[in-house]
């Protein structure tokens, strides 16, 4: 692979300091792209390490209600995957330095990739693309120096883990529990066991997501994994603020400060 990726560099730096990664997720274009840019910059200032940017899709089967509604609001505004790429270019032009991971479904990604290089994107996570279907995706991303992040689920049998690990670069995403994205009242009891069963198969950093909505759950994840992802819980804060006609920035900032246990 070409020079060390932004994601790898970030984890190297965190590792040197013994620090865990905070990986927030934003649905791009909710409520509009300007706000997404402002939220991204705020997250960088507040100490986020990687930004996951969701590409709005009409049929998000892996997402819970919060992310579905966010995607729908963005689509209602006419936000396209192309607009998301332009927003990323704008972030890069204005000095945004966090690694950016596109969180997307297969179908819009096929269209995006057909149109040319994904400038400014450091990694891609495709929710509905297991490695068995990912040959083309992998060769495209390898050639472009983009990390490919796959997900390991609680249902993943032991004998599949090596393939997920080999296909992943940057980090491996650990799905905390069965189900769609969205905050849970509690993380599963076997979270620690789930993370530790992956360790022997990979030296990649392990980031846990799905269902982390409180400081306690973030702290529990940080005690066992290398990073934690916060998506729907942040999305819900943004949704409430927007619903009340407010700028979501202050509320989102306050939420991020309250949840980050590091």
């Amino acid at each position: 692979m070409s020079p060390t990726s932004r994601i790898v560099e970030r984890f190297d730096r965190l590792g040197d300091r013994g620090r865990k990664a905070f990986v927030p997720y934003l649905t791009a274009g909710d409520p509009d792209l300007e706000t997404t840019l402002a939220l991204a910059r705020m997250l960088e200032r507040e100490g986020a390490d990687i930004l996951e940017l969701g590409v709005p899709f009409t049929d998000p089967i892996a997402d819970g209600p919060v992310n579905q509604r966010a995607a729908q609001r963005a689509l209602d505004r006419g936000v396209t995957p192309g607009d998301v790429l332009q927003a990323i270019a704008e972030l890069r032009r204005t000095g945004f330095e966090l690694p950016i991971v596109l969180f997307t479904y297969s179908n819009p990604l096929l269209r995006l990739q057909a149109r040319g290089p994904l400038e400014g994107v450091d990694g891609i996570l495709v929710t509905d693309l297991p490695p068995e279907e990912a040959d083309d995706h992998l060769s495209r991303c390898r050639a472009a120096g983009i990390d490919t992040i796959f997900l390991a689920a609680p249902t993943t049998p032991e004998n599949r883990i090596p393939r997920l690990a080999e296909s992943s670069t940057g980090f491996l995403y650990v799905v905390s529990s069965k189900g769609v994205t969205g905050a849970r009242t509690a993380l599963p009891q076997d979270l620690e066991a789930q993370v530790s069963r992956l360790r022997p198969h990979t030296s990649l950093p392990l980031c846990v997501g799905f269902g982390i909505g409180s400081r306690d759950s973030a702290a529990r994840v940080c005690s066992v994994a290398d990073g934690y992802v916060v998506g729907s819980a942040l999305g819900a804060v943004i949704e409430v603020a927007v619903g009340e006609g407010n700028d979501p920035l202050p509320a989102a900032q306050q939420f991020v400060r309250s949840i980050d246990p590091r």
Binding site: D59, A62, L75, P81, P108, E133, T156, R160
Partner: protein, 396 residues
């Protein structure tokens, strides 16, 4: 690299299993479960017994003499899936999968439904086998098909309406997939057509292929030869592939008829081959109606059962190679065919099946005299009576 899906579940470049990681293991389990069940005579015997003594198979093959004469001396044969229990071919698959689920130790069944026929068939099979049944249905469809919603409830199923997206079949499938991701341990997703990730397109086709096996035997014996032309409507495409599969090696012309809605040129239709392009939806790579960015378009058809933006992946290479021709019929053509069949044959056809009839009505003039046509009458139209009355200004 070898994985369970490598080379499996592919129809040329189409098909596959584009699913969240959480579903990979359950789909493998289903693939194995089906392979084991097929090899187990106690399973196949029970399925055959129930299809015969409970569902009413084999369904008859009826010569449609008056319709054939009205269309200019062609020979029309109707495969009467409308006489299958619950009034459509849907039960063949619902019963098969419900038996399979029970065999695999799954006690909870979830399903999606558009028109409600698959939901009713699933609720029926679950009632018979004592399985918990939850059916997801878009709220727009639930309103259009209130009768079927109540039928499902009478059969003991829970109907959950879906208010996201376009509130129709595609959103019901989204919601069923989300449910399944959260409840994979005890739940079987009983998918209703030859759609979705591997193994569903193959599994559902295997359960529906009984249509063609029966029809081939019946037409050889009743008509004394193979048909010249086979016709079926294509939503997901399970009744079509169910009929066609047994004839793929025969020199028969095959025609699949999609929903032309208000006309393909208007954009309000569900003609995926005519108006769509390859992409990935609901776990499979196939033709679908989408915009330039891969966003899935809403569809339109008078027939809720054909109102879906993707077509079963097995149809795609058969279309590319020309083995199956695809055409479409508009809402108006389907309604006209509905009336003709009702009055000439004493059969109220489902609006879905009326699309196949509409193709025949339109194209009969180009068929040679005496041409033998076998058409899949995939369901009965009782469910559509209220809607048709409404369109014609009759308040029931």
């Amino acid at each position: 690299m070898t994985g369970p899906f490598d080379a499996a579940g592919r129809f040329g470049p189409y098909g596959g299993a584009y699913v969240p990681e959480t579903l990979v293991a359950p789909l493998e389990e289903l693939t194995r479960g089906w392979a084991e069940a097929q090899a187990d005579p106690s399973f196949t015997d029970e399925l055959r017994h129930m299809l015969t003594h409970w569902a009413g198979r084999p369904t008859p093959l009826s010569r449609a003499e008056r319709l054939g004469a009205a269309l200019g001396s062609i020979e029309v044969w109707l495969k009467r899936e409308d006489l299958n229990h619950t009034g459509a071919h849907k039960l063949n698959n619902a019963l098969g999968q419900a038996l399979l689920a029970r065999r695999m130790g799954k006690s909870r069944i979830i399903a999606e439904t558009g028109a409600g026929q698959h939901g009713v068939a699933t609720a029926t099979a679950c009632a018979r086998l004592g399985l918990e049944c939850i059916v997801y249905m878009g709220s727009v469809d639930a309103e259009r098909q209130a009768l079927n919603v109540y039928r499902m409830r009478l059969l003991g199923a829970e109907v959950r309406t879906v208010d996201s997206g376009s509130k129709t079949l595609k959103d019901a499938i989204n919601e069923a997939l989300r449910d399944w991701v959260a409840h994979v341990d005890d739940t079987h997703y009983l998918l209703g057509s030859v759609l979705g990730p591997h193994p569903y397109p193959t599994l559902v086709r295997d359960f529906q292929a009984i249509i063609g096996r029966e029809a081939r035997e019946q037409i050889l014996s009743q008509a004394g030869g193979l048909p010249d032309v086979l016709v079926a409507c294509v939503g997901g495409g399970s009744n079509a592939i169910g009929l066609f599969h047994a004839f793929l090696g025969d020199p028969c012309r095959m025609v699949g008829v999609e929903a032309g809605g208000e006309g393909v040129a208007t954009g309000r239709h569900a003609a995926r081959f005519e108006g769509g392009s390859p992409g990935v939806l609901h776990g499979t790579h196939t033709y679908l109606l989408q915009d330039a960015w891969g966003m899935v378009n809403e569809t339109h058809s008078v027939s809720a059962g054909l109102d879906y933006p993707a077509v079963g992946p097995e149809h795609a290479p058969l279309r590319d190679s020309g083995r199956i021709e695809f055409s479409s019929a508009t809402d108006d053509e389907a309604l006209d065919a509905f009336h003709r069949c009702s009055r000439l044959e004493g059969i109220l056809p489902a609006l879905e099946s009326s699309h196949a009839l509409a193709w025949l009505v339109r194209e009969a003039g180009s068929l040679p005299r005496g041409c033998r046509v076998l058409l899949n009458l995939s369901g009965r139209g009782d469910k559509d009576v209220r809607q048709i009355a409404g369109r014609e200004g009759v308040d029931l």
